[in-house]
């Protein structure tokens, strides 16, 4: 008697992360805030730390991120997420604490808070979503807006002579002694998304090891306020943003030598 080969079984190899709620997000179609959320949630799932993670939401399009992550969350005033995260982490040193901030939030109104959180070497993880514009308020110029980029407050394109050149926050923060891990990644294609996820994981591991301030800058799209279709917005990141905000590791902690005490 011949034994029939069993039918192949289908198993899920990728599914909706547990660390995201099922609340529908308000992000525009094709906005890569959604990818940033998904990656952070996947990493929290893989590290098994959902019950031990506290997020701090900022002000911007990600203002409602506390509704979307299935972890504990607090909501800070505009730009103040690193200050609030400082308090949350110092009061709960055994928890993993992260902020989720846009570039208007982090590089403009919150420039002092992020800088001094890094100076103090606060043991927190910052996810910095840089879309080169103020998304929530209707597309005004941010410190990260590219030269010549048209926004509602720079309708003729950003003029460096009167408004300065794009601010590179990762380069700025990497030279602060208290910063342990500062890298820039992008969300514009599958390869970059995979790299971004690894960096998100590393940034939370750095915090878990108590090594100090960690930040992952993620170049992200704003199709709505850039006036581009979702796929064209990804091409804009690749072709226009990456040359101004080069991807890579600005600062990484030394790997502990093999066999050295942890």
């Amino acid at each position: 008697m011949t034994i029939q080969a069993p039918e192949p079984l289908l198993t899920p190899v990728y599914q909706y992360p547990e660390s995201l709620t099922h609340v529908p997000t308000h992000y525009c179609p094709g906005c890569t805030h959604g990818i940033a959320h998904r990656l952070i949630a996947e990493v929290i799932d893989e590290m098994g730390v959902r019950q031990d993670t506290i997020g701090v939401a900022s002000v911007g399009c990600s203002v409602f991120s506390y509704r979307y992550f299935a972890t504990d969350f607090a909501q800070a005033a505009h730009g103040r997420a690193p200050a609030m995260a400082t308090g949350v982490k110092r009061a709960n040193p055994d928890k993993l604490v992260f902020t989720y901030q846009g570039d208007g939030d982090l590089a403009s109104i919150g420039a002092a808070e992020i800088l001094h959180a890094a100076v103090r070497g606060e043991n927190i993880t910052v996810f910095f979503v840089n879309n080169a514009i103020y998304g929530m308020t209707g597309g005004q110029m941010a410190p990260t807006t590219l030269e010549g980029q048209k926004t509602t407050s720079s309708p003729a394109g950003r003029d460096a002579a009167t408004t300065g050149a794009p601010l590179r926050m990762s380069e700025l923060l990497a030279q602060v002694d208290g910063a342990a891990y500062v890298v820039r990644r992008s969300l514009h294609d599958v390869v970059q998304i995979r790299r971004a996820k690894k960096a998100i994981r590393r940034a939370l591991e750095v915090q878990r090891q108590g090594l100090g301030f960690a930040m992952v800058e993620l170049l992200s799209s704003c199709p709505t306020n850039w006036g581009l279709a979702p796929d064209a917005a990804l091409a804009f990141i690749r072709d226009e943003m990456v040359p101004v905000f080069p991807l890579g590791d600005l600062k990484v902690p030394d790997e502990p030598a093999a066999g050295a005490p942890a």
Binding site: P6, E7, P8, L9, L10, T11, P12, V13, Y14, Q15, Y16, P17, L20, P24, T25, Y27, C28, P29, G30, C31, T32, H33, G34, I35, R38, A41, D189, V190, I193, R194, P230, D231, L234
Partner: protein
């Protein structure tokens, strides 16, 4: 069948970012119908069962709307 995907249409915003990343071009926008959000959702169009479950579409989706399955020998 090596693999397949399922689009959760209640989450899909019709952004179409999953379409060009499929190495076999198996996803399409269902232009002839709308989901409850009022957008044309993405759907798998794979009559020849060519999907390998490579996960590219799921990685590109901003809504985590795509579940990927792969065949395992029981």
């Amino acid at each position: 069948m090596k693999g397949t995907v399922k689009v959760d249409e209640s989450l899909c915003k019709g952004c179409a970012l999953c379409i060009p990343v499929c190495p076999k071009g198996l996803l399409r926008v269902a232009n002839e119908r709308f989901n409850a959000r009022g957008v044309h959702p993405a759907e798998l169009d794979d009559p020849a069962e060519l999907c390998t479950g490579c996960e590219m579409c799921a990685i590109a989706c901003p809504e985590a709307a795509i579940t990927v399955f792969r065949a395992v020998k029981a």
